[in-house]
Symmetry: C2
């Protein structure tokens, strides 16, 4: 098995002149025909979210978040930096070297949003404005980076921390989105010019970017243009990594995954977003090359990460200073970093692994990330964003700056909000997949899709559900091909006893993974999937030291938490243990947070006084179990809307809990 | 009660011309006659450590650490920076703005070391070299700071992070030490000149330093010189703090204790070393002014810190990025920061509180810090130093740079090693105190002292002991006054059943705190104190989330830990729980670490496989208790000498542990 792309030969496919491109309606990933994917994204446009959880989030994203993002990059220096690079305004560059990427992510958000917003014209205008800006700032050979241009720093002179290729990657992703959704080609021309400059520079020069992102972007540009040079350069970047090219830096080569080659790495280490973007790029490379060693490496890394370095919410990263993974099972809830961008990268990676393998566990993980980090990172109102998504807020100790554990309107390091915007805008592309067997529903949300099947024919689906609050999912068939095909329904791993009926008849007993319904579908057919959403106790593996003896609550895919605002008067969440002998109960609480499902359970109030020295000769459990009281937990993604009180996902269990 | 020093009037005591000063043999704290202290440090020289634990550490400090410290500041830029400030060499300042303080701390270490080293002449030479360097770098008005001078930055233009007064404070402490031990006066002249410049500048200008240290130093300079202006300026600094003078900075005003006035603060917050130095300064101010509100504030803060923000070792600080305190009970062992400098500051503070109150709990805490952080921070060989003193090392995840959890020869930020050196060199001053009633032995170490009693007369003591390994302490009386006086012996809080005999007769039943022996002592009298040192289980308060369900081992004042090097072959410390039904046993192990007391106990090896997802529906304890095996724990301060394996102080207790 060769491990080097440099030896590969790729046919240089015919390349459509981008000036004449029209919208293709493909999503963020448009696999080539030669891809080894087991599942493929929809190519005829996204699943259209019509109501419910994510439709509301998309609507808020359109109406509030994306306009805020646009305004922010215009007023927080990003725009002016590129104007300065273009020589159109004076003054010094402000902010970090990667402010250009904020603009590109906002551009990408506009593009995916235009798929379902009522006013795509606004997106066209914004994209044109950005293309105008870039046209003036971009250098003749395609290079553009406001920081390096404004500071007159030689380009590529600081690959470890310069972020030039990282920014190029976000430009490419934005450009691809704009072309696919709107047929907008000027950004794509700019992106191609920059990519060609990278190809000219780094095909032979052994450089990699300290912040991975260019790998997945170049492969998408290959998919968009058919030009194998981009796939080949991405492959070279992957091959080169892990050989110490980036030096020690501040935090050692692990920080930017330069300590071990991609194919040899057994676990993700270092800066989380970097590691996840790199893993996503490596998975993209597998999808287009079929190299088994690459798939084996990323599957192994994913399994290790999920088994040992992931919080209950799906979030990753416990080292706040370095925004990095800790050691296996180092998962302190109160120091959880769980950066929003890491969740975005994690969704990107898990989604690619789902395409590569067709295994439901990757869609399960996307679901966990969506409801418990992505949904948490943005406020319901769409106007506040989290950088950090902690599992335990203790109080106000030194909570300041970007990394404070609560949502803020904007950040000095503004990577997260626009990353969230582009992800929510493009969510419709994560709902369903197709392959030769038929269609698979990977996520449950009310809406509809007309899905072109690979072998011809079209399947029209309408989904009605109040998921994740209730597990009843009704799927109506509209148009259908005239031959038998699968409709596969993911059975989430949290669900023990799913039932499926087709036209009122019990259907195939759903196993783990997917319920596969195979038949000649007729317009008007109706599938009813029932996934019982009940509240359940969740316990940690004994290896997770930081939450030993604690228990959490989940209901369906949603993690719950306790906030001071719901604690009985005069107490706080730290005063209680949970009595797990009483089962938790889902209740609708119209008075809470404008109406939400909540979970009630029995807590025990502890009143043992704090000791002058918190270590001593007796076992640590208080001698009294405490008075029983009813406690209320809310969905974790709704926390941090009622002041700066304490919050816990993991609560100590009573000593006699079972 | 006025809370402002500015209203105080101090008599300007007669000031001895420093050019004619001779060594006074006083230690780091030389209280004025007017001090309200309940206990006073020895004034006729330190307790002379002759053998055993700390004598060996002092010998290594003399022979290895301090020479390394001298060489380091000569070769790592500190010396050249001051040469540059003097115009005697070219090039740019290197390192952080506070590199001067490294030199001053090395100077102070030389001075205290000269009290007991066989070659004080070397200390004189070093101090003269440093005085020469300062004479050329110091500006005519007394100001000296290599960073501000080399970078031509206006002095005091960055009080939050400039560290000018912090450096001045260390210069003062070094100068006082040099004067008291050796009669060296040139550094004192330089320090006085700088202090006078500070008085001239900041008596009216409302500035404080972002890193406290000048407060305690100015008060010591007041004690040394009798000049009330220094006490008054220290008081102004204390009064001004907590009113937002330093601005928001990177981490908010909490970071440098500028968010709440010193007298109002209920807990220590922000950067640990800053907070502890400030608290030490406030305690010094109380000692010289007797202001009850100040004592109440620092006692309250000490109690809160010890009860809620202190690790079992006495270390503090769990926020690695900011080197800061977390919230109460936020004490993750694997992310423990426990900076060595914080332990130094903590010893300084607790010692001052012991003088202020005479309460044994402060000496208990000094003991805990000495054996479990100070002794841990330096290798037995004296050639490696820890910046961070973690309680749980998991593996090699991103262990790099100054803050990696193991000892290193030196650091980019070199604050800790010379702080350790000056502390170990001056340890003899922390062993005993005096007051009108007599002498109190605060720490147990083999050695001797001839102690001048405040009301005249001298008590000569010779202590023979192998403490902390064995609790037998024999105290022989040499010279004695001709009237009755106390010999008070601290009964450590870890000790349940101490016995005391005088000349073979059982003596007063030792209560908590001190056994006070009052009599007319005769030369040849012999006191035998027995403090049974046995291994014991220690459990955390239920509020310490991160070690819930875990247990640790202590024996006497020493905390023990488990290292991979001692785990049965093919396993690591993470594979075991402890069975606390079997008591732990102290054993001498000649084969370990060149011979050490160790603790053996029963562990249970767990072999349940790791799950693909570490959260699930069952309670977290493994269903099988595991095979019993004998495990070995070593003194925590001896860890990190056998490779980079895992280490734990807290181990999970078996489910059926009692």
């Amino acid at each position: 098995m060769t491990s080097s792309f440099a030896d590969s030969a790729f046919a240089d496919s015919a390349f459509a002149d981008s000036a004449t491109a029209t919208a293709t309606h493909r999503g963020p990933i448009a696999l080539t025909a030669a891809s080894v994917a087991v599942q493929r994204p929809l190519e005829s446009g996204p699943f259209r979210l019509r109501s419910g959880f994510w439709a509301q989030r998309q609507a808020t994203n359109s109406a509030t978040s994306i306009p805020l993002g646009w305004q922010a990059v215009r007023t927080h220096g990003q725009w002016d930096n590129l104007l300065r690079a273009a020589g159109k305004t004076s003054g010094a560059h402000t902010g970090r070297p990667y402010t250009d990427s904020d603009i590109y992510k906002v551009a990408e958000a506009h593009a995916w949003d235009a798929e379902h917003t009522s006013s795509p014209a606004l997106a066209r205008t914004r994209l044109a404005d950005i293309a105008d800006l870039l046209a003036s700032a971009q250098q003749p050979d395609g290079y553009v980076n406001s920081w390096f241009q404004c500071t007159r720093t030689p380009r590529y002179s600081n690959l470890p921390m310069g972020h030039e290729m990282y920014c190029a990657g976000h430009l490419i992703q934005a450009a691809v989105a704009a072309a696919r959704v709107l047929g907008h080609t000027r950004l794509l021309d700019a992106a191609i010019a920059f990519a060609d400059q990278l190809v000219a520079t780094f095909t032979d020069e052994p450089g990699v970017c300290g912040h991975p992102q260019i790998e997945t972007a170049l492969i998408e540009l290959y998919r968009e243009t058919g030009r194998s040079a981009y796939l080949e350069l991405a492959g070279r970047m992957l091959d080169r990594r892990g050989r110490g090219l980036l030096g020690q830096g501040w935090y050692g080569p692990q920080y930017y995954q330069d300590h071990v080659p991609v194919r040899d790495a057994r676990e993700l280490e270092g800066h989380c977003v970097r590691a996840l973007y790199l893993a996503a790029g490596a998975t993209d490379a597998y999808l287009e090359t079929g190299e088994p060693a690459l798939l084996a490496a990323v599957v192994r890394q994913w399994e290790h990460t999920v088994a040992t370095k992931t919080y209950l919410t799906g979030g990753v990263g416990c080292r706040r200073k370095t925004e990095a993974f800790g050691a296996p099972y180092e998962l302190p809830p109160d120091q959880a970093f769980n950066e929003t961008c890491a969740a975005v990268g994690n969704v990107m990676w898990s989604w690619r692994l789902l395409l590569a393998t067709g295994e439901a566990r990757y869609a399960d993980h996307v679901e966990r990330l969506l409801y418990n980090v992505i949904a948490t990172a943005g406020s319901v109102g769409g106007d506040r964003f989290a950088y950090v998504n902690t599992l335990h807020r203790r109080g106000s100790a030194m909570e300041q700056g970007d990394k404070a554990p609560f949502r803020k309107p904007w950040f000095d390091c503004a990577c997260c909000p626009p990353n969230l915007m582009r992800t929510v805008a493009g969510l419709g592309h994560l709902i369903a997949t197709v392959n030769a067997a038929g269609v698979a529903l990977q996520q449950y949300a009310a809406g509809e899709a007309d899905i072109d099947l690979p072998d011809g024919g079209r399947l029209g689906l309408t989904v009605t559900t109040d998921y994740p609050w209730h597990g009843n999912v009704e799927i109506g068939i509209g148009s259908a091909p005239d031959r038998a095909c699968d409709i596969a329904l993911r059975i989430p791993s949290w669900c023990g006893e799913a039932t499926v009926r087709v036209n009122e008849e019990p259907a195939s007993s759903p196993g783990p993974g997917y319920a596969r319904l195979h038949r000649i579908w007729q317009p008007g057919d109706r599938i009813v999937l029932d996934l019982p959403v009940t509240a359940r106790w969740t316990w940690p593996d004994r290896r997770v030291d930081a939450v030993r003896g604690c228990v959490a609550i989940e209901a369906g895919p949603v993690v719950y938490c306790f906030e001071d605002a719901d604690a009985p008067a005069g107490t706080c969440v730290e005063d209680y243990t949970l009595d797990t002998n009483d089962p938790p109960r889902v209740v609708y609480r119209p008075d809470l947070l404008g109406g939400t499902l909540a979970v009630e359970c029995t807590g025990r109030r502890l009143t043992d006084p704090a000791a002058p020295w918190p270590y001593g000769p007796g076992p640590s459990a208080p001698s009294e179990p405490g008075e029983p009281v009813t406690l209320t937990a809310i969905p974790y993604h709704r926390w941090d809307n009622r002041g700066r009180g304490r919050m816990r996902i993991w609560m100590p269990a009573c000593a006699d809990s079972s």
